[in-house]
């Protein structure tokens, strides 16, 4: 399961791209391509363990 804060966008403010790129809605910015592998849980990566942005923004369990 990919990170719930991940969106693919081709623009934000003055930044424009030819293809959709990984955008973190928690950090309100495009993320580095290496971090996008964490967002997408690729390889052995898990956003819930490996991403400090997710960990800082996740909702506490009710």
């Amino acid at each position: 399961m990919t990170c719930p804060f991940l969106e693919y966008r081709d623009a934000d403010g003055e930044m424009r791209f030819d293809t959709g790129r990984a955008y973190c809605t928690a950090a309100s910015r495009f993320v580095q391509p290496m971090r996008a592998d964490v967002c997408n849980d690729r390889y052995d990566l898990d956003h819930s363990r490996h991403c400090e942005i997710f960990l800082a923004h996740e909702e506490p369990a009710p």
């Binding site: 693919y8 993320v31 964490v38």
Partner: protein, 280 residues
């Protein structure tokens, strides 16, 4: 003694790290990501004086790829745009399974050189690029099989011990070629004293390439030139030309370090001279 190579005016090898695998166009729109963009950039840096291009591969949207097919597409584009440049593939890859790390070695033809990360490197707050000795040995074995010269990436002083260990475990063709890396985090802290310590501690006969991250790129390249080493510049390691001003291109960074080398009395190595120096 490396300073003798400066006094002798030995040629300096300029490597251009064109794209990398960490940041992308979100950091600078001038960073090449697609095979066509990387190919054009390779032609520009070769014209500016680089004799080696250090390459990573990306998916069409800029995200990391380790697929042989993506490296092949990049190599084909580089060869279309260059005359004689030496192709060096990265085998680096934080949190990527070991078998993926081998795939950049399997293009046809293989790259003449490939990076070999000598040990662990922390990324962000929760990741480490482990680079175990077992992986180092298996990557080196495949490089030997394919006739690829390893470029030993030394992220910090502990990795000089790892170079010594690798030389005990395996036969490496002379000259051993290292890249000494300076910067933040796990890297060797970027001070002149640490630079001198690093070059003093290299194995006998080893050559060194000098890599400073960010604003350390130019001063460490200059020290590398002065102390008989070789240099790596490019947008993988530094996206700025000077404080607050993005570099316009990889070629702009190469042009500057070529001017520095020539002003200091070291000619820039041609691709043919680079092959002779490195024993390719």
């Amino acid at each position: 003694m490396s300073y003798d190579r400066f006094l002798a005016g030995d040629p300096v090898i300029v490597t251009a790290a064109l794209t990398g695998g960490v940041h992308g166009k979100e950091a600078t729109p001038n960073l090449p990501e697609t095979p066509a963009e990387i190919g054009r950039a390779a032609g520009e840096v070769e014209a500016a004086g680089a004799s080696v291009v250090h390459l990573h591969a990306r998916r069409p949207n800029g995200e990391r790829s380790f697929a042989t097919e993506r490296f092949q597409a990049i190599d084909d584009a580089v060869r279309d745009h260059t005359d004689d440049v030496v192709i060096q593939h990265s085998t680096g890859g934080t949190a990527v399974p070991d078998d993926e790390r081998h795939r950049p070695l399997r293009t046809d033809p293989p790259p003449e050189m490939a990076s070999l990360d000598m040990g662990p490197l922390n990324r962000y707050d929760h990741l480490t690029s482990e680079n175990t000795r077992a992986l180092v040995d298996s990557l080196h074995a495949e490089m030997v099989d394919r006739g690829i010269k390893p470029e030993l990436e030394v992220f910090n002083d502990g990795h000089r011990n790892e170079v010594a260990g690798l030389l005990e475990r395996r036969d490496l063709d002379a000259p051993v070629y290292t890249t000494l890396i300076f910067g933040p985090g796990t890297l060797t802290p970027p001070t002149p004293r640490n630079f001198l310590t690093a070059i003093d501690g290299l194995p006998e006969g080893a050559l060194f390439n000098t890599l400073g991250f960010g604003r350390h790129q130019l001063p460490f390249a200059t020290m590398g030139i002065l102390f008989g080493g070789h240099v790596r510049v490019g947008l993988e390691d530094n996206v700025y030309y000077r404080r607050g001003e993005l570099a316009a291109s990889n070629a702009q960074l190469v042009e500057r370090v070529v001017r520095v080398a020539e002003e200091l009395g070291r000619p820039v190595a041609t691709p043919a001279e680079t092959r002779t120096i490195l024993g390719l």
